[in-house]
């Protein structure tokens, strides 16, 4: 049986891989193991470039995300048998999971932690793609699909967050959907559509339930198909190439099975094992039943939206929930175009200069953000000092322009000092903003106590425990 391969390895240098490949195709035809391998080959070509097998090129993050999606579908379908999607019954059906249903708590834990981990893994996957320059040419479209998938993972997590109908769920969703109120013109309508009325109530639960179990998963699974297919169209994951190397489409190949499939299997099994143990040991939180009359103090968004909530503490809502997220979204979609240089591919942080600049940018972004948060908390009060001006200017445009200016200026200084190329400079700016966002998220999670005032993490933890009781 002769198989057509793309790219065809040059005969002279591919004798060993060639032989391997022949064996692999024999295996496909003859043994049960081969049938399994063939299944994996629906996603992969029969042979892959040997250089792309290096674990530290991709860290298997995309594969992990897929494993998590499968785990989430599995545990989610199980939960559907136990969950009752009504405001009266939802909370009791979740407490029943913790008592009457055998392994109920375990399945809920698995679902919750897989969903949370999916956010982390998908973001890391995105960063891997950025920092190894894997967005050129045919991967351009896949970058956008990937961003939409990230949005879907976040939306799935968020809609699932409401379903237990406890205090944290109710108020986190109230806060997050109230943010829509600040979107000009269509905001109120969007908010009412999402809530099914003026307030978060029983209809909101129905809407979130349908979004969570039908709409978002179907969209996610449908979009995963082109996401994988476009990787194959681009001839597999990016092949490492330094700036001084010429692009070579004819890299030495090895058979996908067993070389790639075994590695993927190992990553998947380790991930699943770790998650199972974690789900056995750590219970998903459940607070008191939702009470619309009593906001907990502090009331916080889910952790993956904590950066956004922290922005809200400092910026006028129109900037925090509309202008800044919109700019970030546009910048993210356009990032590959900004980085169009394509000096290298598959090399972490482009070059040694890129690594150095990235480190400095991360430090600068993080420390400036910490400084700005402290200053805004204890020193600055632009709204009062300039009280004759509208707050949209004093707490919105003014701080935004100042920060954009600082970010832009520092990027220029960094570029001049390190002599980075275009790719390194854009990457440094990206890293600086990323560090700022991560710091905001960490502050929101660990350093915001009662009344959203700054506090030490141990005090925040104690306050949260008190609310739990």
């Amino acid at each position: 049986m002769r198989l057509t391969l793309r790219p065809v390895p040059p005969k002279s240098q591919a004798s060993a891989p060639e032989r391997d490949r022949e064996e692999a195709s024999e295996a496909v035809a003859s043994r049960p193991r081969g049938i399994l391998a063939n299944l994996a080959l629906h996603l992969h070509p029969r042979a892959v470039p040997e250089k792309t097998l290096r674990f530290d090129l991709t860290f298997g993050l995309g594969g992990m995300a897929l494993v998590l999606v499968l785990l989430l579908v599995g545990s989610g379908v199980l939960l559907l048998f136990a969950y009752e999607p009504s405001a009266e019954r939802a909370y009791d059906s979740i407490t029943a999971l913790g008592g009457e249903v055998p392994f109920g708590q375990f399945v809920r834990n698995l679902h919750r932690w897989s969903g949370n981990l999916a956010v982390v893994i998908v973001v890391l996957h995105l960063l891997r793609v950025v920092f190894t320059g894997a967005y050129h040419g045919p991967r351009r479209a896949n970058w956008v699909i990937g961003l939409v998938l990230l949005g879907l993972v976040l939306a799935s997590n968020f809609t699932g967050y409401l379903l237990p109908w406890d205090q944290v769920a109710y108020w986190a969703v109230t806060i997050c959907t109230s943010m829509l109120d600040y979107v000009p013109v269509a905001g109120r309508l969007l908010q009412e559509l999402l809530r099914g009325g003026a307030d978060v109530g029983p209809r909101t639960l129905s809407i979130f339930y349908v979004l969570h179990i039908v709409f978002l998963p179907v969209l996610l699974l449908v979009l995963l198909a082109p996401h994988f297919w476009l990787v194959r169209k681009a001839l597999g994951v990016v092949i490492p190439r330094r700036p001084d190397e010429a692009p070579s489409p004819r890299a030495p190949l090895v058979p996908t099975s067993p070389h790639l499939t075994r590695r993927e299997g190992a990553v998947a099994l380790i991930l699943v094992a770790a998650l199972l143990v974690f789900a056995l040991l750590v219970n998903a939180p459940l607070e008191a039943r939702a009470n619309p009359g009593l906001s907990p103090n502090p009331a916080k968004a889910p952790w993956y939206f904590m950066g956004l909530q922290e922005l809200l503490v400092h910026f006028h809502p129109v900037f925090a929930v509309l202008v800044i997220p919109l700019i970030v979204a546009v910048l993210l979609v356009r990032l590959p175009d900004r980085l169009a240089g394509a000096a290298s591919e598959g090399v972490w942080f482009v070059s040694a200069i890129g690594r150095r600049m990235g480190r400095t940018a991360a430090l600068l972004g993080a420390s400036i953000t910490v400084g700005a948060v402290l200053a805004d908390e204890y020193l600055l009060d632009t709204a009062r000092w300039l009280s004759s001006l509208p707050p949209l200017l004093t707490t919105g445009l003014l701080p935004f322009v100042v920060f954009a200016g600082i970010a832009w200026g520092l990027t220029r200084v960094l570029a001049r000092r390190h002599g980075g190329g275009h790719e390194e400079n854009v990457q440094a700016a990206f890293i600086g903003l990323l560090a700022a966002f991560l710091v905001l998220t960490v502050i929101g999670i660990a350093f915001r106590g009662a009344g959203m005032a700054l506090a030490w993490p141990w005090d925040v933890g104690r306050a949260a425990a008190a609310v739990g009781r």
Partner: protein
């Protein structure tokens, strides 16, 4: 000599195609319309004496000047100012919709979520809340205070005209 062009045949085909097109668009419009109307947010029917309807708070004399009374069912506070005037304040924070408790000791509404604070008239004492607490209309009916909770009234600042006097 050529036969005349088959005008009728073409025009029939054209007509049928147009009819098909029109029908397809109609079906699409119906689908969108039905789905849209089905999903359109609707006002929940207000329960008798509950939020969304008219709530009888009680005789005006039963509220002391300076007293702030919470009506959990109506989701509002009835405030009697020191000068004897009445205000019905929504309990929903204008920042992000948290429920604002009344702090009697500090004489202020303090939002637990993002630290906004409002004075007894609902005016903003500290940001991030962008505007005062919303108002509900008050009717005085034979010395009895009734609050209409169907539509919250937004306002940019506190003005004496908002206070209902007997």
């Amino acid at each position: 000599m050529k036969s005349p062009p088959a005008v009728t045949a073409v025009s029939r085909r054209f007509t049928l195609r147009m009819v098909w097109k029109a029908l397809s668009w109609t079906v699409l419009a119906e689908l969108v319309g039905v789905t849209g109307l089905f999903l359109w947010p609707r006002k929940a029917k207000a329960p008798e004496g509950g939020y969304g309807g008219i709530i009888t708070a009680g005789p005006a004399d039963s509220f002391e000047p300076g007293q702030v009374t919470a009506f959990a069912k109506g989701q509002f506070y009835l405030v009697r100012l020191a000068d004897g005037g009445f205000l019905a304040l929504s309990r929903r924070c204008t920042h992000l919709g948290c429920t604002v408790p009344w702090d009697e000791k500090g004489r202020r509404f303090a939002c637990p979520c993002h630290a906004s604070a409002f004075d007894v008239t609902g005016a903003v004492l500290s940001a991030p809340a962008p505007r005062p607490l919303d108002l509900y209309a008050i009717h005085v009916d034979g010395g009895v205070i009734k609050v209409d909770t169907s539509t919250p009234v937004m306002r940019e600042r506190f003005e004496p005209g908002q206070v209902v006097r007997l």
